[in-house]
Amino acid sequence: MEYTARTLLGAAALSLLASTAFAETLTIATVNNGDMIRMQGLTDDFTEKTGHEVEWVTLEENVLRQRVTTDITTKGGAFDIMTIGMYETPIWGKNGWLVPLDGLSADYDVDDLLPAMRAGLSHDGTLFAAPFYGESSMIMYRTDLMEKAGLEMPDAPTWQFIREAAAAMTDRDNDINGICLRGKAGWGEGGAFITVTGNSFGARWFDEDWNAQFDQPEWAEALNFFIDMMKESGPAGYATNGFNENLSLFQQGRCGMWIDATVAASFVTNPSDSTVADKVGFALAPNSEGVDKRSNWLWAWALAIPAGTQKADAAKEFIEWATSKGYIELVAENEGWANVPPGARTSLYENPNYKDIPFAKMTLQSILAADPNNPTVKPVPYVGIQFVAIPEFAGIGTEVSQEFSAAYAGQQSVEEALAKAQALTNDAMEAAGYR
């Protein structure tokens, strides 16, 4: 009996020593949004299961992007896990800056990840980042204003219908704008929106030989359509409006329609923040009549392990925990199904508890309709829908969107903006050796 007790005591001491020896403190860089903050609050569950501690570095999205890029390109090793997007992942994976996420456990069920997300976060078939949550874009509209206008929103409308509906819903006397869209300069802001709009008019950034395509009629048509519609039915000063400005307008009942990220659906239907929470409908992002491509994008915030870390094994354990089915259930248990991270796993959309969420179906349909390998009608040499997954794009995309925003603000004509975009893009691509 005494012998057994001693053996047990010894085994317990050994296991304690072992867990202490292998317990790590992980430093994780992440963005400030509701889902990520929720994860920080649930980290104790991970620590209890693995013994690893976690330290969070939460930064604003653009600051984070600059910060993690500096660290990974210099192999600084300041972070063990980085939150990155679909733009960075394939580029960094190709450069060998990320640890491949192979050998994930059977419980993790990597095949359950939505195919579009998995493809967008891989390079040459190797997964380099696990999606924490995914998003596309869709139409959010005021059901009461649509009804008042005598119109009915189809599940998959065209731009022409949207323009007509926007004009009908606009009520300048009551400060209601028929449609609110992003015009703010920046490749991830207005640049992303006009790129997907261009896709849905048949435009593309480059032809197969990396020649800029802003001199083609599809771009002129898309840009003129966008500006004319916003002049008729958009809010004043839309050229400087981004996600937050439009969210604020919509929540205060000043937009008939808003086309933006699917994650916004949970904000506009939240009664504590939105004055129109019970009057919101959803539809697929529009396309131009006769163009077989919709204007919805694809994005994921994903967790990746930089090659410079010394704690890759513990980091992989964390990623498995944070992007697992079990984590989704943990959030549902603590915060309700409406707050689970969306858009990453197929099983979530098969879960009967999640099917009651009003925007779940349209979010999934929007994600499934997005194809990063074929973003527009004509063939392209790049991957990415609202961006071009090459390192040079962040700079080029921002400059081009600045030219477009100047056209929205009436500081130059559409022709001038497109001519400048064509010249600066070709110059940059030539300097980078693509042409």
Binding site: E61, Q66, R67, G76, Q251, D273
Partner: protein, 276 residues
């Protein structure tokens, strides 16, 4: 009559000064007020000024989510350390330039100032690589050194200007009485330049406290000061203005209080020698 005109002018000047002061202070006041609103009230149109249901909810959320005291402590160490280190180096440098100038003194002063003309991002990668090599990344000592170097030209320039106001004859007299160089600087020059040195310390402490490029780019979890604390509440995808305002108020409160208590010294130092 002349007296009436003077009084009118005084009243106008006072009114103008208050107006300009309020204009400058308004963003801070608005941030303070927003920190007591709900997120929905924060974006209300028309904006709500004073008449809303004041709440401390945002402060509670910020306290729960972030380790404010750790950020605050880092800010105090980094801003205080870099300022003191800068003063220790700058006092002898400014003394030599003010009292024993050479032909090149003006050039040296201009050259020092020219380092401030380079955008910080231009040297981000070299500094980052140096920090990795020296093991200074995400350390308070690393940031203290960088912020000291960044503010050193301003400290030297300010002290040089104050020292130039002190008659060289007094220092000569001290020397004739047998004072060593150290004694001359410590016991004669420094006490006479206390208002100038105090305002230099205060101004540089404020500059270091508010520095947001290097403090964000060279830190992670350990050495991050209050600038990183604020950055963690900003988001382009989500309306968190009320929480961001609460975080900003908590970040600027210590420096505002310090500025409030030392405003006399600050103004006296900044206007030292301005009127002859």
């Amino acid at each position: 009559m002349a007296r009436a005109v003077t009084n009118n002018r005084k009243a106008i000047n006072t009114g103008l000064a208050w107006l300009i002061g309020l204009l400058i202070f308004f963003p801070i006041l608005w941030t303070f007020l927003t920190s007591f609103k709900t997120e929905a009230q924060a974006i209300n149109d028309p904006p709500l000024f004073l008449f809303f249901d004041w709440t401390l909810e945002n402060y509670a959320v910020v306290q729960e989510r972030s380790d404010y005291l750790r950020f605050l402590w880092n800010s105090i160490i980094i801003a205080g350390g870099s300022t003191l280190l800068g003063i220790v180096i700058a006092v002898p440098a400014a003394w030599s330039m003010a009292f024993v100038p050479s032909r090149r003194t003006k050039d040296v002063l201009l050259w020092m100032l020219s380092t401030k003309m380079l955008p910080a991002v231009g040297v981000l990668y070299p500094i980052y690589l140096l920090f990795i090599q020296l093991g200074l990344l995400d350390t308070r000592i690393g940031l203290t050194i960088v912020l000291m170097l960044i503010n050193l030209p301003i400290i030297v320039w300010m002290l040089y200007t104050y020292f130039r106001e002190i008659p060289a004859e007094i220092l000569e007299a001290a020397r004739m009485d047998g004072a060593s160089l150290r004694e001359e600087i410590l016991y004669v020059l420094t006490p006479m330049a206390v208002p100038g040195i105090a305002s230099t310390i205060l101004l540089n402490f404020i500059l270091a406290w508010n520095e947001a490029f290097w403090t964000l780019n060279l830190t992670a979890a350990n050495a991050a000061p209050l600038t990183a604390f604020i950055a963690s509440y900003s988001s382009p995808e989500g309306l968190f203005y009320a929480k961001l305002s609460a975080a900003s108020t908590m970040a600027i409160a210590p420096i505002l209080i310090l500025g409030w208590f030392s405003q006399k010294q600050l103004v006296r130092g900044l206007t030292f020698g301005a009127v002859k």
